[in-house]
């Protein structure tokens, strides 16, 4: 019985002890992970952690030192061309042919893809690339406009799997929002999306699962919700009169009382905590949501690389 008949979506990307070394530099070490069909998968790590190395290995730009991987069930070494036919790829910091107009660049890349461009019109509309903008030469585009062309070329042929390397780089907040909606719609259509990022807030917002990589090693691979549920939240409250008795509240720790204010961390279910503080003397309450950034920083504790990650 295969994975699909058992109810688990099939893997669109599966790596088995995938390793890539450049001489003494270990860019990827024994990386084993599975990305399922129909999910948005975030691949997190600061610059130099190995995110792009994995993407480039999956697409045949790099040859694995050892281990194996499949994309859409196809071997990354033997079937690289077929993999690229069925996927869409947005390289980090995409370079385009400056002498072409935006429309010509998209036409050219669609022709080379050999699958038409059924989503072009919709993508251009949603990313606000009007016909007049597309007529201009790429050399006259701003960074954000180039990035939008990059997103469109990666998705215009409606690929089964899109691999996006830092896709929101250069997009303004409005376009980032449009882009997130786009990804969610693609997911709703059953498409799979794999994207690398060091912008934790966007990964937290749209990804179903996330992998955290550090120096080529997989540090975590979890559902985003699960990862957050296992994080400590910060709670703050203020009251009038006597302080509430919080002894025995499960998961509460690091309690600090300053006058009429209390600050603590809370792990797990909040209901016990809420019941314990329920009182007419309670004046204010703040429960900060668990953040992916905290989880991420924990994996990178003591590593300078964490400074490159943006919340």
């Amino acid at each position: 019985m295969n994975a699909e008949t058992m109810g688990t979506p099939p893997a669109v990307i599966a790596t088995q002890a995938l390793t890539k070394h450049y001489g003494t530099v270990h860019a990827l070490n024994d990386l084993t992970l599975e990305i399922r069909s129909g999910e948005i998968f975030g691949f997190l790590g600061p610059n130099g952690a190995g995110k792009s190395t994995l993407i480039r290995t999956l697409l045949g730009f790099l040859h694995p030192t050892s281990g194996s991987a499949t994309v859409l069930g196809l071997d990354i070494v033997a079937d690289s061309v077929e993999i690229r036919r069925r996927t869409g790829y947005l390289p980090g910091g995409i370079a385009l042919y400056d002498s072409l107009s935006g429309a010509d660049a998209l036409d050219y890349l669609a022709d080379l893809q050999e699958r038409g461009s059924p989503l072009r019109e919709e993508l251009c509309e949603r990313l606000q690339m009007s016909a007049s903008v597309l007529k201009r030469r790429v050399r006259d585009y701003s960074r954000g406009m180039r990035q939008k062309i990059g997103v469109i070329q990666a998705l215009q042929h409606d690929p089964e799997l899109a691999i996006l390397d830092e896709p929101t780089e250069g997009l303004d907040p409005l376009m980032q929002h449009a882009f997130y909606n786009l990804l969610e719609d693609q997911r709703a259509k059953g498409r799979s999306l794999f994207f690398s990022s060091h912008v934790l807030s966007e990964v937290e917002r749209i990804c179903d699962r996330v992998a955290i990589i550090r120096s080529g090693n997989l540090m975590a691979l979890q559902d985003v919700d699960e990862l957050l549920a296992r994080r400590k939240r910060t709670v703050q409250l203020r009251w009038r009169g006597a302080a509430p008795d919080l002894s025995g509240v499960p998961g509460l720790a690091d309690v600090k009382v300053e006058g009429d204010r209390l600050r603590a961390t809370l792990l797990g279910d909040v209901s016990g905590f809420v019941r314990a503080i329920a009182s007419p003397s309670l004046e204010d309450l703040l429960i900060e949501p668990a953040r992916l950034e905290d989880a991420f920083l924990e994996y990178y504790a003591g590593d300078d690389a964490s400074e490159e990650v943006r919340g």
Binding site: Y22, L59, V81, R85, Y89, I94, A95, Y108, L112, Q153
Partner: protein, 267 residues
Amino acid sequence: MNLRLYLQTLRWNQVRLIVILVASVGWGTLMPIVYVQFADLFKSLANTGKFAEQLMNFGSGSLFTLPGALTLGLEHPLAIAFVGIFAVGSTTSAIAGEREGGTLEVLLSRPISRRRLYLTVAATILTLVALVMLALLAGQMLGVAIEGVGNEIQIGQLPLVFLNGVMLWAAFAAFGLAASVSFDRHGPAIGLTLAYLLVNYFLEILGSLWRDVAWSQQYSLFHHFNPGKILIGNADPLDFVILAVAIVIPVAYALVVFPRRDLAAPS
């Protein structure tokens, strides 16, 4: 071969191709005219003994005969610049230039194998080189017709001259492409290919000017491009074999090395 990529690469070269084709026809036309106008003068100068005869030669060409003049026209630095723009400039920028500019990444994310990309680029360059060679020869035949000296050469040998010329430049283009697939930046690729071209050229010219080192010409690819000999019916099959070997070796190298190379993210 990928037809779309082939046509687009041709399109990117179309402006300079048109300019070079016009210039090539013009330059080709000039050589028979120069020959008719100045051959006697050069011969009399040579007969005075005041000039060493070899100083009136240039590579395998000279101005004493029409075949020699045609050879000189095709080996002249100007003709080399015309063809070299594509055989050296376009080849080295085709892969290494795209890699340096980051567009190779976008190209190779399409369903195109590296071997197919290489062969498509090679076919495009071969087309460009063949067109320039054709324009040079067309110009020369125009000049021959204008001066009415067609009886001094075997015009039926022209296809062989064309083949010989295309093979010479295909050899340099193959070297340029081999360099192009080996480097991440355009600079080293064009530098190495130019050095290869210049060394070959130097050996050919040096041997023609200085009899004591005439042996050096044997080691120059230019020496195996000899329209003068072909046009009087003395084509040497060995010239074609040597040029074929000079094409096959870098092509084989590129076809083996390029697909195996790791293409790390552009820095």
